[in-house]
């Protein structure tokens, strides 16, 4: 990570990565100003900034972001929570595994976006439809990774715990659960990616609020500045989700050799 001891070099390491994105922005702006790019094709960065300011001031942007965020979190809580619980269940119980796992493994192969028509039939275009889709999308990565994490724990550690007099619950809490955590968190990362993707699709197809709706609505009026703004907001939300999981990983997996170095320098 470090290029040298000189403060100048460290500062350079902070600044240099921004050069290319900035250059792109400048060239993009110039192209728009000089008329190489039509406004109805792609709005200039300055126009996007203005649109951002306007919709932020009117409160519309904030409302839409909050609604999208709520849908995402609710869907994740339901789908991810259920996936985690079932993963733990099939992970610790052979009977639950026999009963549930092969069925779930089959369902997993259905692309969850393929069921959108059915979901619209069932729930219409109200909130439930979007939350349901997000829940289905986030369920599988978390289920699969929790189950896998529980099943691949070193048998030797469980035996060691038994020999040292730990009961079933203590073994679950102190051996199985923490042992499955790295895998569960990988599942969470996948789930977060799927969560935003699902929400974008669901909101652009059928919604009357949210970021996806905002961009679709803007498209009808050829407001490319709002469309670009919507895309940027999605990117920011995705980035924030990623940063959150990284933070969780650093806290929960502090024991993991992969996190030692960063833990000691932070």
């Amino acid at each position: 990570m470090r290029f040298g001891q000189l403060p100048f070099r460290q500062a350079a390491a902070q600044v240099v990565p921004w050069f290319v994105p900035l250059a792109v922005l400048v060239i993009w702006e110039l192209c728009a100003r000089l008329g190489f790019i039509e406004a109805r094709t792609l709005a200039a960065p300055s126009q996007v900034a203005v649109a951002f300011w306007a919709s932020a001031k009117s409160g519309e942007l904030g409302r839409n972001v909050v609604i999208s965020f709520e849908r995402a979190m609710l869907g994740l809580a339901i789908g991810g929570g259920l996936g985690f619980l079932l993963g733990v269940l099939t992970g610790v119980s052979r009977i639950a595994e026999l009963l549930l796992d092969s069925g779930l493994q089959m369902l997993r192969n259905v692309p969850h976006l393929a069921i959108i028509p059915m979901v619209i039939l069932w729930f219409g275009i109200d909130e439930t439809a979007k939350i349901f889709l997000v829940a289905v999308g986030t369920f599988f990565p978390i289920y699969l990774n929790t189950y896998h994490g529980m099943r691949t724990i070193d048998r030797g550690l469980i035996e060691m715990a038994e020999v040292n007099g730990l009961g079933k619950f203590a073994i679950f809490r102190r051996v199985l659960l923490p042992g499955a955590m790295p895998s569960v968190l990988i599942g969470l990362r996948y789930a977060l990616g799927i969560m935003w993707l699902t929400l974008i699709v669901a909101e652009t197809i059928s919604a009357s609020s949210g970021i996806g709706y905002m961009t679709m609505n803007a498209r009808e009026f050829l407001q490319t500045d709002i469309v670009v703004l919507g895309v940027l907001i999605y990117a920011l939300l995705g980035k924030a989700a990623d940063a959150t999981t990284k933070l969780i990983e650093h806290r929960v997996l502090a024991w993991h050799p992969a996190y030692h170095a960063s833990a000691s320098t932070n």
Binding site: E159, M160, G165, L166, P178, M181, W255, H256
Partner: protein
């Protein structure tokens, strides 16, 4: 912790400090042995499918004895340990400890595995106090002090060396105050110097606490240097049984020990 004396032949001989101060008479030794439990194995049979691993194994280990078991790879030594500790059940026969038959995992029997088996997500201290019995922190710290790792109590196991991990595992076993301590080649993967250090440590702790000890090893020299008695396992039974009466502290190069070693090797 321990003094080490290098003999003429270059072998390291451990000399537990306690031991030297306490003198080395048998009677004194017996008096200090409080925790040891008698271990009796009667007509043990165990098969995996059609493969018979144990075929009528009989063995009686008096309380506080240090027994070493040697035998070829695959002869069933680890299997026997698992039976004694209660992880597996014999197909036939019985194991009893302190007069009571073994049913399920035993509280008074502790097993030190070949690998340290530390929980990577718990600190060294929490690993040692894994059983979380009342007052575990103090006990765990004391046990870590016994194995010379008190200063590492807040580290993650991943940063320890192989030998240090085995010492932590030994400390974990000590916290359980075992009546019978089983050691399944716990030092096999360590280098010769570290191994000899671990032997010295084990001997010291055994002498101090007096648990009945069963050490499995491939190394016959190690067996005769440490144990009161060595048995050889062959085809699922005990086929050779010899008391090692050589005074402690022992020197690896002792002629009596070499003679015994030869006899045992012929027995294997």
């Amino acid at each position: 912790m321990l003094q080490r004396v290098q003999s003429v032949h270059g072998a390291f001989v451990s000399q537990p400090v306690d031991r030297l101060e306490a003198g080395s008479t048998r009677s004194h030794l017996d008096e200090r042995r409080r925790k040891g439990e008698r271990l009796v194995l009667e007509d043990l049979h165990l098969s995996f499918g059609t493969r018979q691993v144990l075929r009528g194994l009989n063995l009686e280990v008096p309380a506080g004895q240090f027994l070493a078991i040697v035998g070829r790879s695959g002869v069933g030594k680890s299997t026997l340990m698992r039976l004694i500790v209660g992880l597996d059940r014999p197909t036939k026969g019985r194991v009893s400890i302190g007069g009571a038959a073994v049913e399920g995992v035993q509280r008074t029997v502790k097993l030190l595995f070949q690998d340290a088996r530390l929980l990577p997500w718990q600190t060294v201290l929490s690993n040692v106090g894994i059983a979380r019995t009342p007052g575990w922190r103090d006990k765990a710290l004391e046990a870590l002090r016994d194995v010379g790792l008190a200063d590492r109590s807040n580290d993650w196991p991943a940063v320890l060396s192989g030998g240090q991990r085995q010492r932590v595992a030994l400390a974990r076993v000590l916290v359980g105050e075992p009546g019978v301590l089983l050691l399944d080649e716990p030092f096999g993967a360590l280098d010769a110097l570290t191994r000899s250090e671990m032997h010295g440590l084990l001997e010291k702790l055994w002498f101090r606490d007096g648990f009945t000890t069963v050490l499995i090893t491939h190394d016959v020299a190690e067996a005769v240097a440490l144990a009161d008695r060595v048995v050889v396992m062959n085809e699922g039974r005990v086929t050779f049984d010899v008391d090692i009466t050589v005074e402690r502290p022992r020197r690896r190069s002792d002629v009596q020990l070499s003679a015994l070693q030869d006899r045992i090797l012929q027995g294997v």
